[in-house]
């Protein structure tokens, strides 16, 4: 095939991809590269007024970060949120999907819709609702607990409870997403596998362990990592429920720290270094996702 045969097609292709690629390059790719450059400077409030006030400082922001207690706390909080919140979300999602997939279950569409509804809601708005549910005196949660004789807990004001409270809300908000993905995977498990297991004398529990769970493994890895990547970007929930990092910075997340440093105090060099810490975590998770997917594809 000669090149000229493609010429009009190739010309059209350039026109078709140009608007999107220009926007993505200019307003995403370049800023990402710019962010790395920014993280190597001392860009601060004086630079916002006049960029001539910016100096190149090499890795200084990163070394400062590594000796900054608040940064480590934000990192710890973020990973705690992800590593506790993620398995909880997945477990509840799996339970919901198994129930929805049960042969005897009726009104499946209705239940699925209800479980999924929190996923599409606006985080800020539901965080406002949960802020009141957690209110120590008038919140529904403490009122319900007082019925069974549990004393009032200051959920969002107590450094021991603030982050677990945010996790509970996140589980409520997100389990429906994984449940729907699990449900689709469950419906794809071939019936013959169960048939064969039954012939071999496997009961329901045995069938779950040796047929259902192995068939779900690739989906499980996928939703776990997607959920974890979402969770390490925790921001709106804590911004609304526990302003300014919560009691003793107990809910300060990486993105919250980036926002505070960058857009409240205009320490944009430091903030950019924080952003790249997030970048490193997310890339690491994506690489794990890709490697495990490849492995499953080969198996």
């Amino acid at each position: 095939m000669s090149r000229s045969q493609f010429a009009p097609e190739a010309r059209a292709a350039v026109v078709f991809v140009l608007p999107a690629l220009t926007l993505i390059t200019l307003f995403f790719i370049l800023p990402v590269i710019g962010g790395f450059v920014l993280s190597l400077t001392d860009f601060d409030i004086y630079s916002v007024g006049n960029t001539a006030n910016t100096r190149f400082v090499g890795a200084e922001n990163y070394t400062q970060l590594s000796s900054n207690k608040v940064f480590w706390q934000a990192l710890r909080n973020t990973l705690y949120f992800a590593f506790v919140g993620c398995p909880l979300t997945i477990l509840i999602a799996l339970a919901a999907a198994l129930l929805l997939n049960a042969k005897v279950a009726r009104f499946k569409a209705l239940f699925r819709t209800i479980y999924f509804a929190p996923v599409v809601t606006t985080i800020v708005a539901v965080a406002v609702v949960w802020r009141y549910l957690y209110h120590p005196r008038v919140g529904l949660l403490n009122r319900a607990l007082s019925v069974v004789g549990i004393e009032a807990i200051d959920w969002l004001g107590d450094p021991r409870w603030a982050l677990p409270a945010v996790i509970l809300m996140a589980v409520w908000k997100n389990f429906g997403y994984s449940a729907v993905i699990f449900l689709a995977a469950l419906q794809n498990v071939p019936e013959d596998l169960y048939e064969a297991a039954r012939v071999d004398g496997a009961g329901p529990i045995r069938q779950f362990w040796s047929v259902t769970l192995p068939s779900l493994a690739p989906t499980m890895i996928f939703v776990t990592i997607i959920t974890a990547i979402g969770y390490v970007q925790l921001f709106a929930e804590v911004y609304v429920m526990t302003p300014d990092g919560g009691p003793l910075n107990s809910t300060l997340s990486i993105v919250m720290l980036m926002y505070r440093e960058g857009f409240r105090w205009w320490n944009m060099g430091d903030a950019a270094a924080v952003a790249f810490a997030l970048f490193a975590i997310v890339i690491l998770m994506s690489v794990i996702l890709m490697l495990t997917r490849k492995r499953w594809a080969r198996a």
Partner: protein, 275 residues
Amino acid sequence: MSPRRLFTSVAVHTALTIGAVLTVIPLLWMLSASLMPQGEATAFPPRLLPSRVTFEHYLDLFNRLRLGRSFLNSTIVAVFSTIFSLLFNTMAGYAFAKLRFRGRDRIFSLLVAALAIPAQVAMLPLFLLLKTMGLVNTYVGAMLPLMATIYGIFLIRQFMVSLPDDLIAAARIDGASEFRIYWSIVLPLARPVLATLAIFTFMSAWNDFIWPLIILTDDDKYTLPVAVANLVGEHALDLELMMASSVITILPVLLLFFFLQKQYIAGLMAGGVKG
């Protein structure tokens, strides 16, 4: 029905119902409290339903606190983000799926690799860039990250790859222009994925918080989430009012989801990326 099957059925439905009740309680309580007279939601003993239904908080939000303005801002940002996203992403997605040009596959795999980069990484320099362009505190500034997205291109491309090549080749032989082929043949066939992309874009624009919080500096321009986050700081004690503001924010996306559930779930499966 055997006793064993009956028992399973009762157990499954009990569990499903408990799960459903726990899931809807926060949303129903939000709705109920938003309709209570001032102070009733925090009174003792606690009430679950309003003693009389009142819309005073909704009126107060629209008349005194000008939340209607934010509702309009959210609508403008979400609608125009969706229109631009549909146009730009389908053009690019189609080219990556069906048109042959040099470097196509290499560029596409670079884009897919960049999908892993969290948006927050770009936000600081993007803010500075838009500041020099005079786009801080403008609708365009708020919309820019959603107008063309790697995820959107990816979603469209995956769908369009499976469209039949013969159709496009036949149209070309008939002398149709490349734009005409895209507009009159490809887009109508891609209607299901267009619906999915539209819903996803609209919802992420409507629900987005951190970017509008950064780029919109004036309360005249605030979208609903930014306005509500601001309100809760000033009116923390006014529970019924805050619940009404949450209802106003959530209701549009929740209704959209109820009516377009099928397309939304289909997109979730096709993209396999968090919506």
